[in-house]
């Protein structure tokens, strides 16, 4: 069954007439994702390159959509998220980057008591290989399987998927939560879903410097996940202070360095790879797969 995205996922593309929205609507549809249509206020009732266009998400919902993906420019992205939250979309993926952090504080607060799950912003989205893709993860690089991926990074996620696929190790669902300071879903939120997903045997977590999300995730993996995990942490050679601010250091009482995070994973019994290729090797070892064979 995977998580977040499955065969019943029906997508509304917010900003379908824009350059990115239009391009990726075709990519998602080619991958087999059910695209109900997209929104562009004022163009409701028209078609865009074969996709129905609606004025509002509520109208797309009435036409069957239960998920949405946002490609609108940053000036309209916050409203776009609110629109999908108010329309009670099950899954909302916000690809748009550059959204002010305090706007996201308000967006995340508004999710309380509501049914929607928000992935992003500034994220590549979610793919359940062989089933459907919501966002911008290139479908070609993924194959179906039983490894779950959750990542703060965009393109680095692709590298890891790619590396797994090259070893023949397939993925249940890959979730890019985005690298922003205030993401909709956190590592923890996604790990909880993977814990309860019978189709996921192992989780790969891709972190980076800054904050203490990786440390919190490491604790959760050790205590609650009940499945093996493998990690990667980007930024071991980053100059100190370049991403991790003063404020974060006071809040967490640490610097948020890669070394701290790697130590946390190791303390939790989670092996950490030094490159995407090595992560894939660690997954293979952890799953006790013979070399050259995958789970796909």
């Amino acid at each position: 069954m995977a998580i977040l995205v499955n065969k019943d996922t029906k997508v509304c593309v917010q900003g379908i007439t824009g350059r990115d929205g239009s391009f990726h609507s075709h990519r998602m549809a080619e991958y087999g994702t059910h695209i109900v249509g997209g929104t562009r206020p004022g163009k409701g009732g028209a078609e865009h390159e074969g996709f129905p266009v609606f004025d509002t998400v509520a109208e797309a919902k009435a036409a069957g959509a239960n998920s949405s993906v946002i490609y609108v420019p940053v000036a309209g992205a916050v409203d776009a998220m609110y629109e999908s939250i108010e329309a009670s979309m099950d899954l909302i993926v916000c690809v748009t980057e550059g959204i002010p952090a305090n706007d996201m504080v308000r967006v995340v607060a508004s999710l309380r008591g509501r049914a929607s799950r928000l992935v992003g912003p500034n994220c590549p989205g979610v793919i359940t290989p062989g089933v459907a893709s919501v966002g911008i993860i290139p479908g070609r690089i993924a194959i179906p399987g039983r490894v779950g991926i959750v990542s703060r990074s965009g393109t680095l996620t692709y590298e890891v998927i790619h590396a797994l696929t090259r070893l023949g190790i397939g993925q249940s669902t890959c979730v890019g939560i985005g690298g922003d300071q205030v993401p909709g879903m956190s590592f923890l939120d996604v790990l909880e879903l993977f814990r309860d997903d019978p189709d996921t045997d192992l989780v790969v977590l891709i972190g980076e410097i800054g904050g203490s999300d990786e440390q919190i995730a490491a604790r959760y993996i050790a205590q609650e996940l009940g499945k093996p995990a493998v990690a990667f942490v980007a930024g071991q050679t980053a100059p100190p202070g370049k991403r991790m601010g003063h404020a974060g250091a006071i809040i967490s009482g640490g610097e948020g360095t890669a070394a701290e995070k790697i130590a946390a994973f190791q303390a939790a019994g989670v092996p950490v790879g030094e490159s995407p290729g090595q992560v894939a090797e660690l997954v293979r070892a952890r799953l006790r797969l013979p070399e050259g064979s995958g789970t796909a």
């Binding site: 952090a101 680095l156 930024g235």
Partner: protein
Amino acid sequence: MKIHEYQAKRLFAEIGIPVPEGRLAHTPDEAAQAAQELGPPVAVKAQVLVGGRGKAGGIKLAASVSEAEDRAAEILGMEIKGLPVRSVLVERTADIRSELYLSIALDRASRAPLLLGSAMGGVDIEEVARTRPEAIERVPIDPEFGLRPYTAWAALRRMLGDPDLTRQAVRIAGKLYSLFMDLDSSLVEINPLIVTGEGQVMALDAKVNLDDNALHRHPQLDALRDLDAEDPRERDAKANDLSFVALEGEIGCIVNGAGLAMATMDMVKHAGGRPANFLDVGGSSRPEKVLHAMRIILADPQVRVILLNIFGGITRCDDIAQGLIAARTELGVRVPIVARLTGTNEQEGRALLRSVGLESAETMEEAVRTAVRVAEGGVA
């Protein structure tokens, strides 16, 4: 974006957070005049956008007008952590009974603002957080309610004891929160927050950091930008929507995505090379962004090879290839290029590069190894 203490204090004063009276001075003369108007003794404080001014000698007391002039002359001649001091804040001194710490920052873990306080103010608060975490009060703020008087009351009373002082600090905390949200701030900090001999709670220092993503909403704040504080190449990059950090090595990196860029640098180091920079061209890249990236990197004479590592998602490999080709034509690239293009439209991108005689590596590992070899004097 960071702004200067005197600018932050003006923002504080506008919304009613008590600050000492002060004047900005750009010359020793102006400092003397400010001291005259305020009446000595005064504090003379360097306005630079780095921490640790005090330790570096950037804050001095002056008992008289002429002393203020002398101190200003000393400080205005300084460079602190590489930044020239171009102005000083001359301030009336306060009768300090106690020094505390108060700030609001975003807490990634709760995805909400957090009020931080400590009775140990006026010192290196990161050090306190590391060594005595129990000395830091942490008050989570529910953004649905904001920071209301009751939110911070208990923590501030623990810090201040007296109910009247607590009431003043609660008021300041509420205003600090309004400032934080209204200005799209990422950090507002008072260190130290002082209690004066007369029983007034007051901000003796002021730090306000702003969210670059929101500056377009606050043109009046964007105007406060201090260009001195920024590396000109980083500024150039930002103006072109690129995220760039200059480093010491020989391998110029152009990568899409911050995580992949960092991972690329990590792998360069592991392979024995040294990255010349961090550069993220971001998502949804237009061909011109690659052109700008090349220009910025090539400005560094140490660069011996350019490593282009692209895994296309929203970024399309053909856009990148076009940008690279344009750069070769327009900039006359003097160093070898090691390119790796995978993902969205990779066939189209590779074909474009091949059409100008550039081969692409298949994997990131392969590209990194090649780039390191070239930088060491080998061939691509």
